[in-house]
Subunit: 381 residues, 2 copies
């Protein structure tokens, strides 16, 4: 899909692509289908701009994406603007400013494109789509659960039936590593071992928390086996509290929808820079890329919030293929517009013949039409 | 709608706004409704990226927008990239490269955001939406007509009934001014007089073409009165040919849809930088801003093309207001998800109560719900 892969065509910068016909239609329809599910649960759409002043975009949680952000000088104000690498910060800004007076919990949804600087030498997408929800102003098991259940409904709406939610709580590992008392290189080694789930290294480097950390690594896996291990662990009180919240959310999800495939990863912490509670990653079974991710965090003014963002272009690789309108070639001789209008109402795409042709069927086929409309009659080719 | 207008809120750069709830939903639905009309006529959607290399974006017709274009350095290629100020150039690039082998006429549609540098000291939108169509590879009266008729259908789909198309042909005036033989300041004065439709000045400055030009100014107005004047004028052969095409397109439109409100402005030429044939501007009756504009031009490789671009945010000011899903507050006690799911299928938005409350009705109203669902019953407030 990258122009650079095709010889003889104009170049696009790496990570930027054209979506053509079927792909572009599928993306637009997929996003609107997901947004409609969100709207069905009372999430109201907001549409922040593609760029803002860097000071507001890279504020708070936005700082994590500072190196991924393109900047531009605003000739008007002489201040730096930034192209958004993510929409979550913008939603938090809107919730804390223009919608500060709106009743809580505030349910907002959004869809749009983001631009990333990219990582040197790596072939990554630099324009990505996002479609997500934020539930702002409440911190509860029910709120965390709602986000996951709505995400599951959105996936099913797209025809994605085999998916799993991986639930974690970065604060759990971070809290334990803090308890180890290690700093600097020693701490980094421990974190690295946890990240690789290298049990031997964790046991060796973990010091006072080595036993708990290795036990937590054992608790990674399907919810059915992971939760009893996590429940049975002897944990320091603050860590216990965090673990209990994770357990409660996973149990509530299982109760609300027993068909959900849930895995628990209590040592997962990478890539979660500002999250404070339960986090979730969604995968399509058999696909490595994340369909979406989300979790609990503190929005502006320390307002509790939980949200989830889908990556529509990745969703669509797992989604049911879309059906395009069947194309009907309208013979140029057709003078009455009523016939074609009726066909359009019935869901066809009418492709007007702009000049008479000798072979209607051949011309229709050339223009990718499966039908011809002539003399008030629809002919299947 | 501008954050800068509200005290105590975060600032957005001038010309960039947040669309909130109702507005954001209306924009998204309006764009999809228009795109669906385009799809109904066989226009296939493409989605080029928000930015490209400056060399490809500002190629050909794109040069006209050079001063309105933000640039960014691509750290990967060390080349300059540009944020698109318009999508037409991108569609032309796609048609000439990746879709060079697709059958003609090629019908493409697009919708997306564009970013403009803006004009110093003037309060203009700097992030605009576009939704449009391009009919590529054919130069005919029927092709020009198709573009206008589809645009009219899109407007009616949005509930906009009172609109008019202003048809012009910049090449007509440009050809006549060329015939005057004037250059430099004299030519600029004449062009300025034409632009203001200052008949006295046109008569004084027009020299050999003064009579024709003043006659053309007379031919501005509703198609019924303008066409006979335009037909009766004695014009040099090349100019006659251009005028005849304009006349033929306007007549064809009147034949195809007698209810269309058509005006003709044969001296219009401003703001049309790369158009070579009939051009059209769409207005809602009683509104000064253009809903959209388009016309005939030469795409890459001098391939004939005709297109039209709507400005969705302006369209929506004239469109039928949208109806949001009616909101139902779901009492926290409701354990069975089937009831709320049924309501969503019926078009309601279900707003989950996340904890029991004493006064269901008050809580529902606080959350902007007109209904409460409790004990399997839908209660109207």
């Amino acid at each position: 899909m990258r122009l650079t892969e095709e010889p003889g065509t104009a170049l696009l910068p790496s990570g930027f692509i054209d979506l053509l016909q079927h792909e572009a239609e599928a993306e637009a329809r997929g996003i609107e289908a997901v947004m409609d599910v969100f709207a069905g649960h009372g999430y109201e759409r907001v549409r922040p701009p593609l760029l803002e002043f860097e000071t507001s975009l890279l504020h708070g949680a936005g700082q994590a994406l500072e190196e991924q952000t393109f900047r531009l000088m605003d000739p008007e104000s002489r201040r730096m603007m930034a192209l958004r690498p993510d929409m979550t910060t913008q939603i938090a800004r809107i919730a804390a400013t223009r919608l500060a007076g709106s009743p809580r919990p505030l349910r907002l949804s959004y869809a749009g494109s983001c631009i990333l600087v990219g990582t040197q030498g790596r072939e990554t997408e630099r324009q990505i789509s996002q479609a997500g929800i934020e539930l702002i102003g409440i911190d509860s098991i029910e709120a965390d659960t709602e986000i996951v259940l709505i995400a599951a409904e959105a996936l099913r709406t797209l025809g994605i039936e085999s998916f799993s939610f991986d639930l974690s709580c970065p604060a759990l590992v971070q809290g334990l590593v803090d308890l180890s008392g290690y700093t600097g290189a020693r701490r980094a080694q421990l974190v690295h071992a946890l990240d690789r789930k290298d049990m031997a290294a964790v046991a060796e480097l973990g010091g006072p928390v080595a036993a708990i950390l290795t036990a937590l690594v054992e608790a990674c896996g399907p919810a059915d086996t992971a939760l009893p291990i996590l429940e049975g662990l002897s944990l320091p009180p603050r860590i216990r509290e965090i673990a209990d919240r994770l357990i409660a959310v996973v149990r509530a999800l299982g109760d609300r929808d027993p068909s959900l495939r849930l895995t628990v990863d209590p040592v997962e912490f990478r890539g979660w820079q500002y999250h404070t509670g339960v986090c979730m990653t969604v995968f399509a079974v058999g696909q490595r890329e994340e369909l979406g991710r989300g979790g609990r965090y503190l929005a502006q003014g320390d307002e509790p919030a939980c949200g989830l963002t889908f990556r529509p272009e990745i969703l669509l690789r797992a989604a049911r293929p879309i059906t395009l309108k069947p194309r009907v070639y309208i013979a140029a001789e057709v003078a009455d517009a009523a016939g074609p209008a009726r066909l359009r109402r019935d869901g066809y795409a009418t492709v007007a013949g702009l000049a008479p042709v000798d072979d209607l069927a051949a011309e229709a086929r050339r223009l990718k039409c499966r039908f011809v409309f002539v003399a008030d009659e629809l002919i299947t080719l």
